[in-house]
Amino acid sequence: MSESIIKHTVKTAATMLAFALVGTFMLAYVFETTRAPIEKSEADARVALFKQILPDERYYATNNEGHHENGLLLNNVIEIAPNALLGNKTSTKAHFANIDKKFAAIILEAIAHDGYGGDIKLLIAIREDGTLSGVRVLSHKETPGLGDYIDIAHSNWIKLFNQESIKYTPAEQWKVKKDGGKFDYMAGATITPRAVVNAVHKALIYYEKNKHLLHDLAEQKSAAKHHTKDDE
């Protein structure tokens, strides 16, 4: 009697184990075969995004051998420690672009914590002279149809920041029009653009304060890279 119970238990456990093993092998196989295409398509998507906010062709130029003359933007990375001005609570990656070994532009990641639906993640491209090349929303949880116009998929609002800088627009103007600033917003949703304008402004201040350090880091990194000819 008890022997048959044990037998049944073992059989049941073995069946469960067999299914788990088959499932695990199947997943491992698919994971391995899809890893390369997934990495490639994600890298492509990032480069496409970079090209939107940093359209200058020189950053993507390749020489005869297919190597990126100024280093592939994707691989030109500086770690940025948590900083209140950027709103990042863990260290993030900033991508820099050099032209002829001189620092030319940087793409910072900033997070606005005061969006209507939570955090708004931004990608902010700043040129060497402190002007904005472009801004895009990486992710947000704003109300669909109301606050989501900050996303390029829904409207061109985010392009208002192109060519802006803290020299061109004084600090008291870095607000939405409702608060006495210069930035347009759409009726019904002011919390969202307020958060974005504020985050972009703070990122520009961060760049202004740290630019010498960032320039040095970027130029050092690219020099080191050039040495090992490892620019892919």
């Binding site: 049941t12 698919v30 994971f31 994600e42 109300t143 149809g145």
Partner: protein, 232 residues
């Protein structure tokens, strides 16, 4: 009446997962803000249902009844992960749209319900067909609900088609009501509840009308009724 005809009628009408069984309401309500979103998730779910029914049916006799639910969940979760990785690797644009909803198919109880109530008791061919038809029934409901919400909420149809088929598909986006300022309620979650309620009401009304007609004409005794596959 052949078994396939029964399965078709059950999936699309009698036991429609979205309107009668009311299983898997979470994705039904969450993603149907546009037609494209609704149809895409519906088709992904259809694929998972056909695959999981097809995977369980051939091995149903080897699964002891004590561990059938964990085995079903294991198989469904593995299949969903495989489909998720494949879409990510080979259709990145679609993955961006459906991204977070694909893993959620695992917890959509309609998938488990069909495996438990149909695939575990039937041959592989009808089981796959049942998964497909139940999925199509859900897809139709998701598409209709998406159309209602998009039309009332934004005044368009098929917006976001370009995310799946590329920029060229933008011309197929119908602006049904020009200069529409939007009706936010339809886009937000309450609109999904109201829309689904209306669809269920319409279906019930048609059903009552239909059965009343059948009664008066009394074609033949109601021997077409299948034992309802029990729903929760």
């Amino acid at each position: 009446m052949s078994i396939y005809k029964d399965i078709t009628v059950n999936g699309l009408w009698k036991q429609n997962p979205g309107l009668v069984q009311l299983l898997g309401l979470c994705p039904t309500l969450a993603v149907t803000s546009t037609v494209v979103n609704g149809l895409s998730l519906g088709l992904a779910t259809t694929l998972v249902m056909a695959a999981s029914n097809g995977a369980i049916s051939p091995v149903r006799k080897f699964i002891p009844s004590e561990i059938r639910v964990p085995v079903f969940i294991l198989v469904i979760a593995a299949l969903v992960t495989v489909i998720d990785l494949s879409i990510n690797a080979f259709a990145l644009q679609l993955h961006k749209v459906l991204g977070i909803f694909i893993p959620l198919i695992v917890v959509n109880c309609i998938v488990l319900a069909r495996v438990e109530s149909f695939a575990a008791k039937n041959e592989p061919a009808p089981a796959i067909f049942d998964g497909f038809m139940m999925g199509m029934g859900l897809t139709v409901v998701l598409g209709l609900l998406g159309a209602m919400r998009e039309l009332i909420g934004k005044g368009t149809l098929f917006s976001g088609l370009d995310l799946i088929f590329g920029e060229n598909a933008k011309q197929f986006v119908l602006t049904v009501i020009p200069d529409y300022h939007g009706f936010l309620l339809a886009v937000l979650p309450p609109g999904a509840f109201l829309g689904l309620g209306i669809l269920i009401a319409i279906r019930n009304w048609l059903e009552i009308k239909n059965s009343a007609k059948n009664k008066t004409i009394a074609l033949e005794p109601a021997n077409t009724q299948m034992a309802p596959s029990h729903s929760h």
